[in-house]
Symmetry: C3
Subunit: 372 residues, 3 copies
């Protein structure tokens, strides 16, 4: 049995497999209309996200299955203090697969360690949102026919944008990807992603604050929202915001084959006037996301059927595990609140004693004492 917590849990081959399945569903939906007859997905949304939740629910229903769940935490036992682990164990009695959205980094990981059914991370705090990345990858693949040799622009909030970070991590495994990172200086891509993802995989990249200047080179433009609350200076925010609003005028110099993506919801960062441009792919992305979730549900249920044993998630790569000797410093990590949860770190860079929290991937430096 497997779960999907982080997009890199799946190999490049597995991702191509999912895309093949999704394409086949689009071509022959009737062949899948009873594929999950008698199966149930539990959509456990500890914070609201209508689009993502309804995408999972539509996916399961189009496979002939059914849905139970909740759409916000105050309808849930969490309001009575139930741990994520217990919720996962309880829901395992009711459903065949879980899709979990949670405000705490690492919560779906804890669920996957305790459930006896597969768990899909539908977004955990600022950490991961792998099914959005599935939608993004599949949209690029369908629009461009390939996932390599592409110039991909990311525009807007590259600092906090979880979907940006995940898609860059996913693209790092393909060849010939050139990144154009377009943002105000306050919202540049974090340094650790540059060193640990981009540099590590030898990706080309440039940084700029000029959307219009970057436009002509792009094969893909991935837009994101700039949130006012990220700025101390509101006037600065208002001035900047408008330079990143995508309008038909700014697309004049763009390639005819450009594909414009956006994880939605959009507020005003893309003008409605762009919607009718054939290069606007953000609503196709919604549809593609549903089909990739259908493919994902099929794959995980199939793997669970063939091998019901839970794969221990933390030991696969042979890294040293440090248990209950250090504490995670990330205040949003699930390990801050979950009952009797071990504090577990992976030693990722032994020479520097650098460790990663297995729940939220926060980096901590171990003492020599910790490593004994």
């Amino acid at each position: 049995m497997r779960s999907l917590i982080d997009i890199v849990d799946f190999s490049v081959e597995e991702l191509y497999g999912l895309m093949d399945t999704a394409s086949d569903i689009i071509a022959h939906p009737e062949r899948y209309a009873d594929a999950c007859r008698g199966k149930k997905i539990a959509t456990l949304f500890f914070e609201p996200s209508t689009r993502t939740r309804l995408s999972f629910e539509a996916a399961m229903l189009e496979l002939g299955g059914s849905v139970i769940g909740f759409s916000e935490a105050n309808s849930s036992s969490a309001a009575k203090g139930e741990s994520v682990a217990d919720t996962a164990k309880v829901i395992s009695c009711y459903a065949d697969i879980i899709a979990m959205r949670h405000p705490r980094d690492g919560a779906p990981f804890v669920a996957a360690q305790n459930a006896s059914i597969p768990v899909i991370n539908a977004g955990d705090g600022g950490h991961c949102h792998p099914t959005q990345t599935l939608a993004d990858l599949f949209t690029i693949y369908r629009e461009k026919g390939r996932l390599n040799d592409l110039t991909v622009g990311f525009c807007g909030d590259l600092k906090y944008g979880r979907t940006v970070h995940s898609l860059i991590a996913a693209l790092a495994r393909y060849t010939g990807i050139r990144l154009v990172l377009i943002s105000p200086k306050e919202l540049k891509l974090p340094e650790n992603i540059k060193t640990e993802v981009i540099a590590k995989h030898g990706m080309e990249y440039v940084e700029t604050s000029d959307l219009e200047g970057a436009m002509p080179a792009l094969d893909i433009l991935y837009m994101t929202r700039i949130q006012g609350e990220r700025f101390a200076d509101k006037d600065e925010f208002l001035r900047l915001r408008d330079t990143y609003i995508l309008t038909p005028e700014k697309l004049v110099t763009a390639k005819q084959e450009l594909a414009i993506l956006h994880p939605l919801p959009r507020v005003n960062e893309i003008s409605v006037k762009v919607d009718d441009d054939p290069r606007a792919c953000y609503f196709k992305q919604v549809s593609n996301g549903k089909y990739m979730r259908m493919a994902l549900i099929l794959k995980l249920l199939d793997e669970a059927k063939r091998n019901p044993t839970r794969v221990p998630l933390i030991c696969e790569d042979g890294a040293k595990i440090i248990r209950n000797r250090m504490r995670c410093s990330n205040s949003r990590c699930i390990s801050m609140v979950e009952q009797e949860l071990d504090q577990v770190f992976k030693l990722t860079e032994p020479e520097k004693r650098i460790c990663r929290c297995i729940y939220c991937e926060t980096k901590e430096t171990a003492t020599e004492e910790d490593l004994k």
Copy 2:
């Protein structure tokens, strides 16, 4: 493809067609048990309304289809600022038909202009609630065997009662309808409905504040709730309220064939003691509403299948359209908040330069400049 935004979107013939279908469903439910197999309704309730939502959901389930949706705005992407148009486009990827309840007048109209699937207005602010009117009409038809030659009393809050206004507009298309408008003077039917609906169709009507005096003449009594918050003077409210509470005593002079309707929820405007009277039809009305919604879903899905093109909603009657020259003054109109939405008016009375907002039907007077 068509939508149902306002009851008058459907012709009298179409309404009889829906009632025929609903009657056939009641007689032969098993024939419809798989009619929508594989189809999904999205119930998008931006404000709660359990009865209406569950009626749509039960309707779709009894047709063999399934349901996705949300029951209040804070579980929805609207909380993140998504426009109604974008929500409609996104949901079009997930479902086959939408039922939308929204606090803003005109929101389902905007949804219908942007969705690629049919949209049913399940109540928009103080504007319309056409499926309640379907339930009302069908109940009258089943109880009386006709929709013409009836004396119909409306009692309670005739000023703000959206269901009252809609039912009067619907009844205006049948012959021989006599209206008895029973209300305190503070809650009389608005003048514009008298001039634009009642007078225009040459309906007979009387106004009175005396429920008991009006009773003997009535074939139909449509009760509504009087809400305390409508009154500046609370003592006045309390005094009035009791005179409009329907009790068995007040029914003594009523016809044996009277049919008592109420859109529910009732608070105390009809005594529970009336429930067992065979003339009490308000729970039958609930059941009838479900069957009419089944008929409506069938009709709209069938029309969408035969003609998937969206009918442009604003041009059908040849009235002049004024775009982005005037603003709607209704603070509850969807045009106040929706991103980049055109301000659109229809010139309904050219000689007086009177226009109607196409979203909420608020009346504005254009300048000569606006009309150029």
Copy 3:
């Protein structure tokens, strides 16, 4: 037609019948996969309870039926002041069976008196939660092979624990049950349960505050949560709480065949370290609860089909009924708020003029005048 409001509404034989059905479902789930095809359960949760709600929904889905409902009162018509009786009548138009959770004692009883479909009490205030008791009984039966000749320990909050009171009432009908009541003195079992249930049925019992001392004798250990808000003295609470946390150490002296139950959610009253002990049955209990709810839905739908007439709930045992002469003093009783609801009492101890509110079972003493 019957409903399940209180566990004692069902005879011992009926409970064995439910357990037989549940066992058969576990053995042959495929035989039941279409048992409720075309049927709907309405889950009316006026206060949130994810576990219970999802258990009912999973149960109905595994029987091939479907689900409508709401998960908290502010999505419901109750927010507009609709009575429980009206809600029950409305929902009877939409569904085939109701599962109702309500914050007011007696609300599901009122619903059952007004619905034309069976009603299951899914928890009403501090009063009853009979389907939890079904889960508890079935778990004991499956683990021990019998429901008689057992030493059953109840640990924690025995004063306010609704599930404890219900399970004791249920066990009172079997022979050879010995109760060990383990609690701090502040949270002892209420006197009226000792006199009216335990003494009346001649059950053996001991009271103690010492969990570890009681452990060796137990066949069943039913753990509950101790809530801080029950204590005036917080230090006292913190000191006590830890003595009742179940840990592997405290289980050293326990029988090998002990079965540990807990109604969940657990906060920290059972250490996670106990979960892997084969004696920990609280997650099995979750699963058993779902199967008993399946059996219950089947039974009630079957009875409704064979006899659609509502059984008058208050007259079965011939006790004198007192109507509208006394008022219930329980501020949480549904009779405090429901529109035009008769105040009804049953004269349970004529010689002492002791009556019970039929909604919430609160005891009141009638005057001689009341009884005339």
